[in-house]
Symmetry: C2
Subunit: 116 residues, 2 copies
Amino acid sequence: MAQNICPVETGLQFLSGRWKARILWKLYNGTLRFGELRRGLSGITEKMLAQQLKELERDQLIIRTQYPEMPPRVEYSLSPFGRSLTPVLEALKQWGNDNQKQIIRLKNQNAKLETK
Amino acid sequence: MAQNICPVETGLQFLSGRWKARILWKLYNGTLRFGELRRGLSGITEKMLAQQLKELERDQLIIRTQYPEMPPRVEYSLSPFGRSLTPVLEALKQWGNDNQKQIIRLKNQNAKLETK
DNA sequence: GCCTTTACTTCCTTTTTGGTAAGTATCTGT
DNA sequence: ACAGATACTTACCAAAAAGGAAGTAAAGGC
């Protein structure tokens, strides 16, 4: 994470990458195990999930709880700091809903441009 | 822009990359010329600025106006669609302000971990 | 005729991110 | 003794994003 001055960029750095926002979004509905997350995030590999969870934990957005059982059980949940991102994620969700049509139109349009 | 189902991820795709949010943030205060943007975004190269502006224009978040003068004058401003992202950017800014201390602490901490 | 200004583009290299496939540890059940 | 379950790790490769340096076009001023 490089230096930054722009207040708007700071938050985005915590959500950067293809999976972090999606992982957090899942955890907003409550605690989940590693395997539950993997099954819930279609397309993610175990490597990416483990890596992203580790970064989210390092950034203190989530809490990892390991139970001394075998086979292992590890649960992930949002920390208060993680919950503090709620307004951002809600705003993103709202925007996505409000602008669905425009977004779909754009995607089709951009897809066409690429193949030309 | 790949398929996506997560409503929260959609918005982030429009802000992805190191510069887009910062560019939009600058434009919230009004129209700016290419050179003004370049000077305002410390560290950006002309190549990156041109590329990102082109993508933002393709995504219809900004409007490019070219004047038939020489040397050329090109102005960039937010479109209504770009303005619709205001709540997201405001939420990000707010979060950055509210959590300044925590964020700085985290950055120092993570920086230390890296060098170890 | 040449330098300056502005808004780019092009080519090439480096860095970062994402992905695939295989392997590991440990206990339970058969 | 061996397969299955769970939560990972490791080595390697591919793709995407970012960056540096140089070049381009067109008019005006000296």
